[in-house]
Symmetry: C2
Subunit: 206 residues, 2 copies
């Protein structure tokens, strides 16, 4: 949903000279994108919902494709603060600590956006790159940190295939949501950690 500060919804007071409203518009674009997909989304929808004029959007972005590209690229790291990662002392603790409702919701939104642009990714390297660095890389980075820590601790073998292990969580979530149409819940995520990720890391399920 449009997560805009309710405080600013009131009649627009001062007109800003710069592009202050850009983030707001991009958020709306992502919402529409998640709901209708790229082709279903129209510039009018975005403009109307953002209470902006269509011309305003075109003053800022040369085309629909550019708007979407920008929106996807700006989705980066809204949900993850790399400096405030949990450090529980165990791999399982770290992984489970990431299973929080806000994180789950943000993940689902990302997946819906991904579904909305899926058909273009194969034909647009730019969009693919944006999606890669905004949607999949941040999550992988976090996991990489956890697994490296675990290796340093001696908790898992030093020759563990970190890249492969990093994929399991996101892959299972994406598959469940996009392919099976089944939204994930805390239980699914925790048992994925316990039944698959930790065994694959050769760690006994805690």
């Amino acid at each position: 949903m449009t997560q805009v500060d309710e405080a600013e919804v009131k009649p627009r007071l001062g007109r800003k000279r710069d592009h202050t409203r850009d983030p707001e518009i991009l958020e709306v674009a992502l919402d529409v994108l998640a709901e209708t997909g790229y082709d279903g989304m129209t510039i009018d929808m975005v403009a109307t919902r953002a209470k902006a004029g269509k011309a305003t959007l075109y003053r800022r972005w040369p085309s629909k494709a550019d708007l979407v590209l920008d929106a996807v690229a700006c989705m980066k790291s809204k949900d993850i603060d790399l400096d405030a990662l949990p450090d529980t002392g165990t791999l399982r603790g770290d992984l489970v600590a990431m299973v929080k409702p806000p994180s789950i919701r943000e993940s689902e939104r990302k997946l819906k956006v991904m579904a909305g642009i899926a058909s273009m990714i194969a034909r647009s390297p730019e969009l693919a790159a944006a999606a890669q660095s905004a949607l999949v890389e941040p999550r992988a980075s976090v996991n990489r940190i956890f697994f490296r820590r675990a290796i340093e601790r001696g908790e898992i073998p030093a020759d563990a295939d970190v890249e492969r292990l990093c994929m399991i969580g996101p892959a299972m979530v994406a598959y469940s949501v996009l392919m099976l149409g089944k939204p994930v819940d805390r239980e699914f995520l925790v048992s994925t950690i316990d039944k698959i990720i930790l065994p694959a890391a050769r760690l006994p399920t805690a």
Copy 2:
């Protein structure tokens, strides 16, 4: 869902009345779908490539959506013959035996089709159901058989979470291809089996 026309009472003169070219057209539709996605695909493309008239397609399917739905539904089990599954005597053997170039190619085609319709799945339960039973269920069925056999053999614990285990392979492939844009090869698949699936099943890597 290619339902045959009403039984004819009238004399059959002229050309064949059966829709003998349907499968051919549906195959072309799938190709175009995989290449361009649902919205990028036009009826003209399909007609031209199938050397058919656009009118012919509309004589057979009432709309583009129906054509695509039918095409996806008919994708069922082109690649897997449930009666000719390998039975190597070990779980690893069975799983690895499925890693064959034709199977990989068919998987990638299915994933491209999936990507092409991904944005509509959330809004079309019919299409979601078709994709489910034609694209994901067949593969899961095969895996289920392998894991059940392994349990019967006593190779893996009887309380193994078969449903979860079945997902790992497809999930990793889908994630790699759709999200990372990295086509999978035999090495990736085999090491996924050895490093993730078998450990998760509490089997030592063979």
